[in-house]
């Protein structure tokens, strides 16, 4: 929901009331940041294609399903984006998802502890794992690729040890509700959950209000703002899409808990990456390490916390995943790291670091999610699903490279 705001923050569109100004506003909004708008268009196109190919694709229950099924990848992608922007990589997140889930399951299922003990223990383990990676990367100076490749093995092994190589289930109770529960019924409704609509309505209102405030602030600082009609049109479109989605959820089972969690995380991390000093430092390190160092950025410290953050987000994903599976398996989360990494790159992050956005990674993740889900509905074999997803990753990055070349030689 904040993607649109950022686009305007980044690309000042010349104001103008005449037709030419309006056209220019439109053209520059579309082409000015082609990668950003390109990915939204690609996402829209993919959704459109699947909705035409299968009538159940946009059904309330399937949309709910997509959210539940891929939320943990999106959570991982948030942390991974920061890691990638800083010029690192984390290959261990799948194993960390498994380990944190296993720790929670051991405490809650085997030891009979309350659900929150499991949650806190998982978070603590995630923190420690992150600190471990951070220590080796930031303090000792070993490339993250090696450190986390070792982590992938180490933490997978520890998962097997924790679980004695067997699965534990079921969680049941509150822990189960984390990923499978819904917020609904508070305000009643006839087949449509009013509560869900109210929450989304409030979110849209907040979005419109912040967009308005930032527009006013820019005007106060005498910066260019886009034409008023364009500003309004954009908010109306965003609101319409969001409310349509809300209506679909509301006609199914209401507002999934994980969607609330994911929404909160996206908002927080968008702010952290775009507005905080820490976020700036991450981009500075990824863009030019030497220059960052000579500008007084505490590179070691920032790198350390980047990995701690990744560890904690991995544990959040671990909690969500184990809750959704209603148990812990030794092989849980296998190759999640690849999905999370793919989401970032499809979403426009640069392999060399310094470039990428949380919103981009989220759309990138959603493209992968929608593709998987759509192909499953259409009964495409898993083998072909893999091939198609691989091609999507390749083409998305190729598009990026092509675009950059074109911009270089632009006339």
């Amino acid at each position: 929901m904040s993607a649109a705001t950022e686009t305007t923050m980044r690309e000042p569109v010349p104001a103008g009331d005449d037709d030419k100004g309006a056209m220019r506003a439109l053209a520059s909004a579309l082409t000015g940041n082609l990668r950003q708008s390109g990915i939204f268009l690609a996402f829209a196109a993919i959704v459109l294609i699947f909705s035409l190919a299968h009538d159940q694709f946009l059904s309330p229950s399937n949309l709910t399903n997509i959210v539940l099924q891929y939320s943990y990848i999106l959570i991982l992608a948030i942390g991974m984006l920061i890691v990638i922007v800083a010029g690192h990589i984390d290959l261990s997140v799948g194993s960390v998802v498994a380990l944190t889930g296993a720790v929670a399951a051991t405490l809650v299922i085997r030891e009979g502890q309350p659900w929150w003990v499991g949650v806190l223990a998982a978070l603590a383990v995630g923190f420690l794992v992150g600190a471990w990676h951070g220590f080796w990367v930031a303090r000792v100076g070993i490339p993250a690729f090696i450190v986390t490749l070792a982590g992938l093995l180490i933490f997978r092994g520890l998962t097997f040890l924790t679980l004695s190589s067997i699965s534990l289930s079921p969680f049941g109770g509150t822990y189960y509700q984390i990923a499978n529960g819904f917020q609904n019924g508070l305000f009643g409704g006839y087949g449509v959950d009013v509560f869900t609509l109210v929450v989304f309505g409030a979110a849209v209102a907040v979005y419109a209000w912040t967009a308005w405030r930032s527009r006013r602030a820019r005007q106060r600082y005498q910066q260019q703002v886009e034409a008023f009609w364009w500003f309004v049109a954009k908010i109306v479109v965003v609101a319409a899409v969001v409310m349509w989605f809300a209506y679909q959820l509301a006609s199914s089972r209401g507002l999934p808990n994980v969607l609330v969690l994911l929404g909160v995380l996206i908002v927080i991390y968008t702010l952290v990456t775009q507005r905080s000093v820490f976020g700036r430092h991450v981009y500075a390190i990824g863009g030019n390490l030497n220059a960052a160092q000579l500008s007084g950025v505490k590179v070691k410290k920032v790198n350390f916390w980047i990995f701690v953050n990744m560890g904690v987000l991995s544990s959040v994903a671990g909690i969500v995943f184990s809750s959704r599976m209603n148990g812990a398996q030794p092989s849980a989360g296998n190759s999640f790291e690849l999905d999370a990494i793919a989401a970032c790159f499809v979403g426009g992050a640069a392999v060399t670091g310094g470039v990428g956005r949380v919103t981009g990674a989220m759309i990138g993740g959603l493209i992968m999610a929608v593709m998987s889900n759509g192909m499953q509905l259409l009964g495409v074999e898993t083998a072909w699903q893999q091939v198609v997803k691989g091609m999507v990753l390749l083409l998305a990055v190729a598009f990026d490279v092509f675009n950059k070349r074109r911009a270089e030689a632009a006339r």
């Binding site: 600082y221 820490f278 981009y283 160092q293 000579l294 950025v297 470039v355 030689a409």
Partner: protein, 513 residues
């Protein structure tokens, strides 16, 4: 009838939001040395990139005629095939490959079975290197050669391609006087061998010395082409055409108002980071007073940058010993952020590697070293930041459509101004500027000197490291000389002459101190 090797006719080149070249024409005669000069961002590099196919045919308007025929280059390979070789503003050598390997990179000398014939490679490389006056071994890795010699390797590489037209974009910007002299001499020799050269430079005396004709570009348009043998082709005339007005003095007036001691360094010794036992800065002591511009003169390799960077939060070297006092109190400066906190700033000589995040915009580069000043409790106020950046863009006259333009897309000189803005914005008490006017045009130099004056007038101190002695003499109050890592002397500017400084800068180890 004069024989023109090159005619570029009404070239227009537009980048999104910038008209870099507008209806530019350039005529180069066969066998001449043709200089191009103009302010930063005037479009000099862009024009040469159009010529050499970096920007392929179709991405610009206009015609290029070379050697009697119209040419439409699709890539840099096409232009090289016709004998046009460009040496870019930033050198493009592979540091860990040998001189010979670099010379024949992409153009390898092959023997039986398509494998590289090393004997031939090295023998031919040695020949080419002798032609440019290098007597290093062809197997030496280029990272072990100084910038001056690397520049010569680039030229040797060009010669290996049977060059007819050699383009040099600011070849002497990073060279000291000796190396520059050598390079100019080489260009004269090449001219005698029938090779035409185009040289971009901001150093007017060097243009006056070597060029047959000079084309001046301003704001993406050709202003005039001067025949350097004519009496009206003076440096003042060139400056007037470049900046569009008269520039009465090269250095702004200033009445020195030197105050109390601000920074004192005692017994500063720095060892080489990777070669143990090698002393790079040897027991250096100096003082800097409030309101004073202090110069540091020294030949390349004398340890000027190393001295500055080691002081700046120990960002260079190891086993650093010595004391730093500010306002008479000893301070501990172990990291860059310590240095910034203590009001010490250092603007690097190598803006691309150490100064800028090229993939971020101007705004974020300017605030990178003092984000705290535009943020509250860890959150950046982007509007405030924007205001600050716009202010600096105006004050330092940075040529860019907005402060949202990426630093990597700016012309070299404007990038330098962004680096300076970054450090001025930290509001440091002691500002160390390492080659602050490298690659900067005369007008912008004047602006930078004015900024330096403004800072010292506000009671701050500025330390200027420069290879250009006239510049040090023009703007400093005192000049320290550095040779082989030792401070060999200090002269108040009134007593200093270029000769006297040179003498101190070349003082041998035994006689030093």
């Amino acid at each position: 009838m004069t024989d023109n090797i090159l005619e570029m006719r009404s070239i227009t080149k537009t980048f999104p939001g910038v008209k870099a070249l507008q209806d530019v024409s350039l005529t180069v005669r066969r066998g001449e040395i043709h200089a191009i000069c103009g302010e930063n961002g005037a479009g000099k590099s862009t024009l040469m990139k159009v010529l050499s196919g970096v920007y392929p045919h179709g991405t610009y308007d206009g015609e290029i005629h070379f050697d009697g025929a119209e040419v439409q280059f699709g890539s840099i390979n096409d232009s090289e095939a016709r004998g046009i070789v460009i040496i870019h503003q930033e050198l493009a050598l592979v540091p860990f490959l040998s001189a010979a390997e670099n010379i024949f990179l992409g153009n390898e000398r092959r023997g039986a079975g398509g494998l590289i014939d090393w004997n031939r490679t090295n023998a031919e490389a040695a020949e080419l290197m002798a032609r440019v006056g290098l007597n290093e071994k062809p197997v030496t890795p280029v990272s072990q050669l100084g910038v001056g010699k690397q520049q010569l390797i680039e030229i040797a590489k060009a010669l290996s391609k049977e060059v007819k037209l050699l383009i040099l974009d600011e070849p002497t910007a990073a060279l000291n006087d000796n190396d520059s002299e050598h390079l100019l001499e080489l260009l004269r020799q090449l001219k005698a061998q029938g090779i035409t050269s185009i040289m971009i430079s901001h150093k007017l005396n060097e243009i006056a010395e070597i060029a047959d004709r000079t084309t001046i570009i301003r704001d993406g348009r050709t202003i005039e082409t001067l025949d350097m043998s004519q009496p009206e082709a003076t440096q003042d005339r060139m400056i007037r055409s470049m900046v569009g007005r008269d520039l009465e003095h090269r250095y702004p007036e200033r009445t020195p108002n030197v105050g109390e001691e601000l920074l004192r360094v005692e017994g500063w010794t720095v060892h080489h980071p990777t070669q143990p036992g090698r002393v790079v800065v040897d027991n250096a002591s100096f003082t800097v007073n409030a309101g004073e511009v202090v110069g540091i003169a020294g030949l390349m390799g004398a340890g000027r940058t190393e001295l500055a960077m080691s002081l700046f939060g120990r960002s260079y070297g190891r086993n650093i010993t010595g004391q730093v006092f500010k306002h008479g109190q000893e301070i501990q400066v172990h990291t860059v952020s310590d240095a910034i906190d203590h009001g010490i700033a250092y603007a690097t000589e190598d803006r691309k590697r150490y100064g800028l995040n090229l993939i971020e915009d101007i705004r974020k580069n300017i605030t990178a070293a003092s984000l705290g000043k535009v943020s509250r409790r860890g959150w950046v106020n982007s509007n405030e930041e924007m205001k600050v950046a716009e202010e600096y863009r105006g004050n330092l006259n940075i040529k860019a459509p907005t402060v949202m333009a990426l630093a990597g897309k700016l012309s070299g000189g404007n990038q330098q101004k962004v680096v300076l803005s970054k450090w001025i914005f930290t509001d440091a008490d002691v500002l160390i500027l390492d080659e602050p006017t490298r690659g900067i045009d005369v007008g912008a130099k004047y602006e930078i000197y004015t900024i330096i004056n403004r800072m010292v007038a506000a009671g701050k101190a500025v330390v200027v490291i420069s290879s250009e002695l006239p510049e040090l003499l023009g703007i400093c109050d005192r000049v320290y000389t550095l040779a082989f890592g030792r401070i060999t002397g200090v002269l108040p500017v009134a007593d200093a002459t270029q000769e006297r400084l040179m003498e101190l800068m070349t003082m041998e180890k035994e006689t030093a101190r």
